[in-house]
Symmetry: C2
Amino acid sequence: MSQVDNAALSAHLSHVLIVMVNTTLPANIGSALRAMKTMGLSKLVLVAPKTYPHPDIDALAAGATDLIEQIEIVDTLEQAIQDCHLVFGTSARSRTIPWPLLDVRPAAEKAMQAVTASHQEIAVIFGREDRGLTNEELALANYHVTIPVNSDYGVLNVAQAIQIICYEMRMAAMARVEQQPDPKATMQVLDGIEMEWDEPLVTHAQMEQFYPHIEKMLAEIEFMDPKNPRLLPLRLRRLFGRIQLDRMEYHLLRGIFSRVQALNNGSWKKSSTTSTQDEDQDNA
Amino acid sequence: MSQVDNAALSAHLSHVLIVMVNTTLPANIGSALRAMKTMGLSKLVLVAPKTYPHPDIDALAAGATDLIEQIEIVDTLEQAIQDCHLVFGTSARSRTIPWPLLDVRPAAEKAMQAVTASHQEIAVIFGREDRGLTNEELALANYHVTIPVNSDYGVLNVAQAIQIICYEMRMAAMARVEQQPDPKATMQVLDGIEMEWDEPLVTHAQMEQFYPHIEKMLAEIEFMDPKNPRLLPLRLRRLFGRIQLDRMEYHLLRGIFSRVQALNNGSWKKSSTTSTQDEDQDNA
C-alpha cells in the first residue's frame, strides 16, 4: 500500500461529494475542508450555510485554500445531490421506519465499488451541528451510514465525522486503485454485485420526479390521502431507493403511472393505447 | 477451521434446497446425492424426473441412501421453490436481458448470509443434462449463478456443478458457523447488508401471485398486450426479484394494483376508498 497510484486514487475520490446542511459554525466548514484534503477529497457543497464566507473558514482550512475556491453553495439539499446516483445520509438511526443502514467502512466500500465499476457519483450528507438531518432529508438517501462510537462517550462533531468518512473513502479507494473504472458503460453495481447491465442507472434528480409522480397518481386514485399520507411516501422511497432503478425500469414505471392517471381522469382513449404500448416497448 | 461445530454447520446447510429439473439420467441423481452428502446438504427436490426410481440412483448414491428417502418429487419448478426466499438459477448467462449474475463463491456467501442473518430458505436450480434451464425457468430466480470454467475445455455436467456448488455452500457455512442465526425476526439481508427491518421478506410463492397480478392489471389497462408482452413481464420479474419485497411493501403494491383494476372496471366507488386506505395504512 506504500506505493500508491495517486492519480488513480484522486480519480476515484473525485466521484465523492461531501454535503453539509445548514452548517452554523464556519470553523466546522474549514475543518471539513482540511479533513477532506488530507484524504484526497475535493468537492464540498454547502446547503444554505448560516455564515459564509467567514475568516474562520480560511483559518481552519489552512493549506486547503484550493478547496475553498471549489466550494459550491446551494439553497436546497435536492440541488446538492441531483446528479448523484448513490446518496448516503449520516444518521444515528432512522426515527421512523428502518432504512438500509451501513457502518462507515462497508458504506465506503459500497461507494468505491459503485465508482470503480460503474462511474457512479456519490454524495455523503452531513446535518446540522445541533440536530443533524431531518427525517425528510434522511429520506432522500439510498442508505444511511453510521460511525461506530463509544456510546458512553458521546457523539462525534460534524468535522470529526467528515474526517472519518473521508478516511474510509480513501482506504476503500486504495483497495481498488489497481482497478481502473470499467470502460463498459453497461457495467453496473446492483445489490452490491458488479454485473453486466443493459441500461444505465437513473440519477437522484430523476428519482425526485419519480416520487412526486407516484404519490400524485396514488392521491388521484385516492389510494393515498395527500393530507394524511402516513408512512406511505416514506415506504415508497425506501422501496425504490433500495432498488436503484435503471433507465428502462424508470420509464416503464412512470409510463404505468401516467396511464393510470389518464384512465382516472378519463383522458385516455383506446386509440392512444397502441402508441404508448409501442413507445414503451420499442426500448424494451 | 479444522475444529468445526458440525451441528451448527448442518443447521445452516439444511436451509439449502438442491433442485434438479427434468433430469434424464438416474446416475446423475445418484451422483448429486453423493455430492450433497459429502458437503453436508440433505434436501434434494426432483422436478418431473424422466426416470424415477431407478437402481442406478441407489448405486451411485452409495452411502447416501438416507438422502434418497428424503427426496421430494414434484411436477413443477414452482412447487419445488414455493417456500424459498432466495432462488439461484444455474446458467451460463441469461439469453434475453441481463439478470443479476453471481459466480458460485459470492453466491454461496450471499446464501449463507441470508440463512444465518435472517433464516431465509435457499434454492439452487439445476437444468436438464442437454439444454439446462429454459428462459422461463431462469426468470423464476432472484439471481443467476455461474461456475467459472476453462471455456476451451467445455462445461461441467450437472453432477459436477452440484458438487462445486455444495462445496462452496459448505465453505461459506463454515465461515459463518460461529455465527448463530439471529433470533431477531426483524433482522433481514437486503442488498447484501444485514440490518434491522420491520417486516419479514415474502416467499417465492407470494411473488408468484404478485407477477400475474401486475401483468393482469397492465393488460386490463392495455399498457401491456397479453398476446405480445415482449420483454415487459421479464423486466418486471428482474426488477421486483432484485428488491426482495417485504410483506408490507408486497401488500402495498398489490393494493395499488387492485385499486387500478377496480378503477378500470368501474367497480371502485369513493365509498370504498377509506376502508382500503385504512387497511393499507393500519399496518404502516
